[in-house]
């Protein structure tokens, strides 16, 4: 599980990596798998995709939490499809904090965007909600939605990729 305090640990780890001589770092512990690399072409051990940057992803083996069969009150972050590549030059839109990912403003309403849509700078792409605080996640620049990494209603963790946008001039 990825709780906010773990993210701080992660950030500290990434800083240490950046300050070290290491070329790659692969850690698998406590339900979290982490792959850091200096080479932008480096491949994470769990997928064939070329990650364009040092990336922390939840372990892909973690099964999504079954709502009725587990007594654990802690949310399992949605299983971000680590297999989905982020092609070079695409803008990755990430979750601002841990929360529930919503693709529409309200249940039953049209979704904010879908794959193939061209979105304008500042366009709402989704909502992330935690404890009644809703935040609209917006496109920074004009682009075409090429990937959507989470499903409506998924619990996403802070910094988790939500969308990849192909820039449009």
């Amino acid at each position: 599980m990825t709780q906010p305090r773990d993210n701080e640990d992660l950030e500290a780890l990434i800083r240490q990596f950046q300050g070290s001589d290491l070329e790659e770092l692969h850690i698998k512990a406590a339900g979290l798998e982490l792959f850091l690399a200096r080479d932008p072409q480096a491949r994470a051990p769990w997928d064939g995709g070329a990650h364009g940057e040092a990336t922390a992803a939840p372990t892909p083996q973690a099964a999504p939490q079954s709502a009725t069969s587990t007594p654990s009150p802690a949310p399992a972050p949605a299983n971000a499809p680590g297999a989905a590549p982020v092609p070079e030059g695409f803008a990755v839109i990430r979750a601002p904090y841990l929360g529930t990912f919503y693709r529409a403003p309200k249940p039953g309403e049209p979704i904010f965007c879908d794959i193939g849509d061209t979105v304008e700078p500042g366009a709402d792409l989704c909502l992330v909600e935690v404890m009644k605080l809703f935040t609209a996640v917006r496109a920074e620049a004009k682009g075409v939605v090429r990937h959507i990494y989470a499903k409506d209603g998924d619990m996403v963790s802070e910094g988790q990729p939500l969308f990849a946008l192909e820039p449009v001039d």
Partner: protein, 455 residues
């Protein structure tokens, strides 16, 4: 007939609070929990728990059919809705009545009438309760401009079905009223499915005061004094105190009498809070609304009156009448409550779910802590961020503040950020100590000053 087994349709600290009140009266308790709350403090305190459904509230705590079905299946003869969730949804008492379960609260018709702000205003007017100068429903932007010019700028456009500040627009000019009407109406339509608006004169320097009421359904209504809840952010209360030390005695008597008259006029049954704006400049009070439930901040009223309001709710729901009179209720001393939220207040108040790794609250005879937390407890991301209410009493307001400052300073929580640090800033501030604050003081004065200090 006295309740024998109570279904608690809520979670968190209030579920625990209700369980303890029921146990003190010898009532068995059944708690409906979501998947995330199976191991909560309330779940450990009750006689029995039943899992309502998955963690998201819409599939558990917010499903009235599911909740009442669970109450029925577990043989409960009473249901306490707590606050929030379904507590002011008329369907809940309606379903309870259909299944022979006593709802701890007023009947469905009363909830509906009070929940509609225009209806509630009409009820208040009929009971001679002072209203903020304003209108009934407004039909159009042109109508809005006409009313605004009648009552004088600035004005507040509000959603009839609204709450929590949504669908509310402040307008200072004719242009702002026209634009505001369209925007507020659309917002109200989308948030509440009802775009009806009304208008009120906007009071720039207002305090929020409210009266704790309890009625037994026969027309007898008692008040347990007033509370002052003027420290707010985005219409959410952060600090509440009793009594309202800023209010002169004559106005206080008028406040209590108005609140009691309103609740008596509808033969109110159960706990209610009548909320008012206190216009400090004009020394007037204006009715805002009645909340037909027990409120988060009820402990400050309990602290200064010695009453157990939740026990009274349960006794009245069990068919008892109020066996005490107004003369039996005296307000002694001063109490202040801080709502402690798991939020990073220094980073935009981001709610911060997680696990409590250290929980070391202060303890003393003058301290009450209503909480469901302990070391190792998790705060799920699905519900609100309140993790506890720290209530401190003193003989005077000054003594209560002094004790509160000491209590906050020694309250140690690790694992998630909390608003304890913000409460320290509030309680240490000269404006708070001098009691010259108003409902927008936190947002207009304190928070900007803290940001500047932070650089």
């Amino acid at each position: 007939m006295a309740l024998t087994r109570l279904f608690i349709a809520n979670r968190g600290e209030i579920a625990l609070r209700i369980a303890r009140a029921a146990q003190a009266l010898g009532i068995e308790t059944v708690l409906g929990v979501s998947d995330a709350d199976r191991d909560s403090a309330a779940a450990r305190a009750v006689t029995r728990t039943v899992v309502l459904g998955p963690s998201p509230a819409a599939q558990s705590y917010l499903d009235p059919e599911l909740v009442v079905h669970a109450a029925k299946e577990t043989g409960c003869d009473g249901l306490h809705p707590g606050y929030g969730f379904l507590s002011e949804r008329a369907i809940l008492p309606r379903l309870c009545a259909a299944h022979g379960i006593a709802f701890v609260g007023p009947d469905a018709e009363t909830i509906e009438a009070l929940g509609d702000k225009i209806q509630a205003r009409a009820m208040a007017r009929a009971a001679n309760v002072p209203l903020v100068p304003g209108s009934d429903s407004i039909a159009s932007a042109a109508d809005a401009v006409r009313v605004a010019e009648e009552i004088g700028y600035p004005v507040l456009l509000k959603a009839s079905a609204g709450g929590g500040g949504r669908g509310m627009v402040i307008a200072h000019t004719r242009t702002e009223v026209e634009a505001g009407f369209t925007r507020a109406s659309a917002e109200a339509e989308s948030a509440f499915g009802d775009g009806t608006l009304f208008m009120e004169c906007f009071v720039p320097r207002a305090r929020h005061v409210e009266v704790q009421l309890m009625g037994d359904g026969t027309g007898k209504v008692l008040h347990f004094g007033e509370r002052d809840c003027s420290v707010q952010r985005r219409y959410q209360k952060l600090v509440e105190e009793a009594p309202s030390a800023a209010m002169p005695e004559a106005l206080r008597r008028q406040l209590h009498a108005s609140a009691v008259a309103l609740a008596s006029s509808v033969n109110y049954r159960g706990a209610a809070t009548a909320e008012f704006l206190y216009d400090v400049d004009r020394q007037e009070i204006y009715f805002i609304e009645v909340n037909a439930r027990i409120q988060v901040e009820h402990p400050v009223s309990e602290a200064v009156t010695g009453a157990d309001l939740v026990q009274w709710q349960l006794r009245i729901a069990g068919g008892e009448t109020l066996t005490i009179d107004q003369s039996d209720i005296a307000v002694t001393g001063h109490a202040i409550e801080c709502r402690i939220n798991a939020e990073n207040w220094q980073r935009g108040f981001i709610p911060s779910p997680g696990t409590i790794t250290r929980w070391a609250p202060p303890e003393a005879a003058h301290i009450r802590l209503d909480t469901h937390m302990r070391a190792g407890a998790t705060i799920p991301p699905y519900y609100d961020s309140m993790i506890g209410k720290l209530i401190v009493t003193g003989d005077t307001r000054a003594q209560a503040i002094e004790r509160l400052e000491a209590a906050l300073a020694s309250f140690s929580v690790e694992g998630v950020p909390t608003t304890i640090g913000l409460h320290q800033q509030i309680t240490a501030h000269p404006d708070f100590k001098a009691n010259t604050i108003h409902t927008r003081w936190l947002e207009q004065a304190l928070l900007p000053a803290l940001d500047t200090a932070k650089g």
